[in-house]
């Protein structure tokens, strides 16, 4: 099999985004009829690589050959015409259309502009039968199907083109256990027919079961090509994924930890179907980290603590209960949140830095409803100076700032009004390396001033380097709680991916 002509060969792919080199020389080689797994941590460049293959991004450098011929994937349509189909993580189906309409969306069999409904329905039925799901009715509305059935429809759509290569981005994420088995059966049938599959998943056990070979990405580079999926030990894969060149600079922890008073206590917190029975506490001056994969419940825990979700169980801030289903209570008690999606969830992009900073403290500037604009401006100037927000102009629209400075503006919003607890969800997402060190130092300084911090990050080194204490999450449960010093990156990655260690 090693000397078979590769179906796809990518060489030295480079993709540069403003401020980030997302792909920095990636090689990938896929053989016909194989399941090729792509592994890497968040931010390693997997999604950028997929999008390059799907024709959604154009590489700045490098070559792509398909069946020995150089190709340019200039648009998604060009990629599909060449036989490359992509099934994205968030299924891109139209809920209001029928199964058949979805399958043939964009390439409806038509005559003189009239859609050949009968032909589309027949062809869809054949495709579904080929996938072993003849029971799905082509005229059913897609919105009424289960996630697993939607997955099958997505696959039927991929096959409705003359497909030689299917890219699957975490296809099992939305599926229950027995449905994953069915997905694997379909993948095996496809590969038996000579179709190649690029399979992306965080779950190593799945890769063992379905994969033929593995390519590992790290920091935008290929670090291992074509490892045998079944024989390579987990420890080797994890080592490849983590061996890191980008150095994180973390501020020193205080030599002896002063046990502050308990700020946050969470008891048996549960959101059905997301996470269950989570209990922990955060003390004043302490940074507690939540480590886990996407879907492990880490962001949802933070949202529940903040009252943004309904939950069962109990949350106390300095002994006073927080209720779910509204954030005003949590804010009044002294919590602040820097949410995961900074632009969508935190910022008023068109408005000035100053107005973004004052947003959570309007009550403080209100005299009978009247805005004390002079004090607002003075406080904003003070915050911009204290957190070194650049450029140092509080009147500038916040959207013109870099990611790191936007994040500082979000933190400034909360520091303005005396917080007891800060919830940080992916605080360094989209922040470049230099600015990260500054943010780490800032968070540590705040903790030293007596604020409790609850930190979520998908980057394990960040959690281990910044937090004092770490909770490891897997599939909605806490599987380990320990001081950060007792854990190392390998062990934590092992735990969140395999659930093996205890």
């Amino acid at each position: 099999m090693s000397e078979a002509t590769p179906l796809l060969r990518m060489r030295g792919i480079v993709k540069q985004f403003p401020g980030v080199r997302a792909l920095d020389g990636v090689d990938l080689e896929v053989l016909p009829g194989e399941v090729h797994c792509l592994l890497g941590q968040n931010g390693a460049g997997k999604s950028t690589l997929i999008k390059t293959l799907a024709g959604a991004h154009q590489p700045d450098e490098g070559t792509i050959t398909l069946n020995g011929a150089d190709v340019r994937l200039s648009s998604p349509i060009a990629a599909i015409r060449l036989g490359i189909s992509t099934i994205y993580q968030e299924l891109d189906l139209v809920d209001g259309l029928s199964v058949a309409e979805n399958v043939f969306l964009g390439h409806e069999p038509a005559r003189l502009g009239f859609v050949g409904r009968g032909r589309a329905t027949r062809a869809t039925r054949e495709l579904l039968a080929r996938l072993g799901h003849g029971e799905i009715n082509p005229s059913t509305e897609v919105g009424r199907l289960s996630p697993a059935a939607k997955q099958v429809v997505s696959m039927a759509r991929a096959l409705s083109h003359d497909t030689r290569l299917i890219i699957m981005d975490e296809p099992s994420a939305a599926l229950a256990h027995d449905e994953v088995g069915n997905l694997f059966r379909i993948i095996r049938e496809l590969t038996a027919q000579g179709v190649a599959v690029v399979y992306i998943s965080h779950r190593l056990e799945e890769i063992r079961e379905i994969g033929d070979r593995v390519t590992v990405l790290k920091d935008g580079r290929t670090v291992a090509v074509g490892l045998p999926a079944k024989q390579t030990p987990t420890s080797r894969v994890v080592a490849l994924m983590t061996g890191r060149e980008v150095e994180y600079v973390f501020p020193p922890r205080r030599a002896e930890r002063v046990a502050g008073a308990e700020v946050l206590r969470v008891e048996r917190l549960t959101v059905p179907g997301v996470f269950a029975d989570v209990s922990f506490s955060v003390r004043a001056g302490e940074i507690v980290g939540l480590a886990g994969l996407v879907g492990s419940g880490r962001s949802e825990i933070i949202e529940a603590v903040y009252g943004a979700r309904r939950f069962s169980g109990q949350v106390f801030l300095e002994g006073r209960p927080v209720r779910g289903g509204g954030t005003t209570g949590a804010v009044r008690l002294g919590m602040g949140l820097a949410p995961e999606e900074r632009k969508a969830q935190a910022l008023l992009l068109d408005q000035s830095v100053s107005r973004n900073i004052s947003l959570a403290s309007l009550g403080r500037y209100s005299r009978l409803g009247w805005m004390d604009r002079r004090r607002e401006a003075a406080d904003a100037r003070e915050m911009v100076r204290a957190l070194d927000i650049r450029p140092a102009d509080p009147e500038r629209p916040v959207k013109t700032l870099s990611g790191g400075n936007q994040q500082k503006a979000v933190l400034a919003r909360w520091l303005l009004n005396d917080r007891r607890l800060l919830l940080l969800d992916e605080p360094t997402r989209g922040v470049d390396v230099g600015a990260r060190a500054e943010l780490y130092a800032l968070v540590r300084r705040l903790a030293d001033e007596g604020i409790g911090v609850l930190l979520v990050s998908s980057e394990v080194p960040e959690v281990l380097g910044l937090a004092d204490r770490v909770l490891v999450l897997r599939e909605g449960r806490v599987i380990r709680e320990a001081d950060a010093g007792e854990l190392d990156e390998h062990a934590v990655l092992d735990m969140i991916m395999e659930g093996s260690a205890l």
Binding site: A308, A330, A344, L347, L349, D350, R355, L359, T400, A435
Partner: protein, 335 residues
């Protein structure tokens, strides 16, 4: 887009006298509206020199603008807050009918005014509650209110025009009494505009309005009670409809279920021409009022020139399109 390299460049400290880019753009946008208004005035001076620039004509333009103008102030709040209120004309009609029933009129003019204001605010409150807590789309909730309020007004009045009775002339005097040659109702209009500007630009309520419309999720996570604020915005719009009802009673000496037909479209158009985005989070009272004045002056010019009113509608449609296209260009050229 700023690259990390740009940020390390020292930015000179801005002198306080210089306006920020946003403020400058705001001024320019209003400047465009003012220029349009001046151009229309020139057209008036050229085509109907004898009648356009007279005091009585200017006063009639302002009186005409006053009723919709008050409604436009409320509409501006709702739209900046990310919503829309289609029920304004119908709610105004209902308030005018309720205030001119014989039963209400028997209590005298002050009670009539209070009645109109309460009916308007109440209808707005219902809109807000349906949207915030009933989770209805603003378009649908206020469309339902439009139909229902108009129907209720017809039922209450039996589809008859209700005259302001003798003894309640104080209402009518709002349009007949003049101070410095200008009727009282124009002063009321000006007061509402001023109050609206102050609330929007100088109070925390105004700040929250921009935040709720610009990014409701960010507002919610910053601890702002978005639902309560939304209810308040629609109640405010209803309040404006109540005040407008008083003005229309003053001008026409009647309450009628046919008052305010299609006012919602004029008000929304004025807000859009004034540069407020229908997606919320951006806009200004001054812009809306300038937009409304442009509309009113066009109507006035068509009437003075004896032109077809149908052509006038076509002209208004064109103006909306041109205004939006120009604003889009101003926005994109900035980034």
């Amino acid at each position: 887009m700023t690259s990390p390299a740009d940020e390390r460049v020292e930015t000179p400290v801005r002198k306080p006298a210089v306006l920020s880019p946003l403020a400058r753009l705001g001024e320019m946008r209003h400047l465009g509206l003012v220029v349009a208004l001046v151009l229309l005035a020139v057209v008036g001076l050229v085509t109907v020199p004898g009648t356009f620039a007279t005091t009585s004509n200017l006063v009639s333009i302002l009186s005409l603008a006053a009723t919709i103008g008050v409604i436009t102030v409320g509409m501006t709040f709702v739209i900046i807050g990310g919503g829309i209120d289609l029920s304004v004309g119908a709610v105004m009609a209902l308030a005018s009918v309720w205030a001119t029933t014989l039963a209400t009129q028997s209590y005298g003019p002050l009670v009539m005014i209070v009645c109109a204001v309460l009916v308007g605010t109440g209808a707005g409150l219902v809109n807000g509650l349906l949207i915030s807590y009933g989770r209805m789309v603003p378009f649908i909730a206020t469309l339902a209110m439009l139909v229902a309020a108009r129907g209720l007004a017809q039922r209450m009045s039996d589809r008859r025009t209700q005259l302001v009775q003798q003894g309640n002339e104080m209402i009518v005097e709002l349009s007949t009494t003049r101070v410095l040659g200008i009727p009282l109702l124009v002063y009321i209009f000006a007061l509402v505009v001023l109050a609206g500007w102050v609330v929007l630009n100088r109070t925390t309520f105004g700040r929250r309005t921009y935040a709720v419309g610009g990014n409701p999720e960010a507002a919610r996570l910053a601890g702002i009670d978005v639902r309560r604020h939304t209810v308040a915005l629609y109640a405010l719009s209803g309040l404006c409809c109540g005040i407008a009802a008083v003005l229309i009673m003053a001008r026409t000496t009647t309450g009628s279920s046919t008052h305010g037909d299609l006012y919602e479209l004029d008000a929304i158009a004025a807000v859009i021409i004034g540069g407020t985005l229908l997606t919320g989070g951006r806009g200004s009272i001054i812009g809306s009022i300038l937009g409304l004045l442009i509309f009113t002056v066009i109507t006035n010019l068509f009437i003075l020139n004896g032109l077809n009113t149908s052509d006038q509608l076509v002209a208004k449609g064109l103006i909306i399109v041109v205004a939006v296209l120009l604003q889009r260009r101003a926005l994109t050229s900035r980034t």
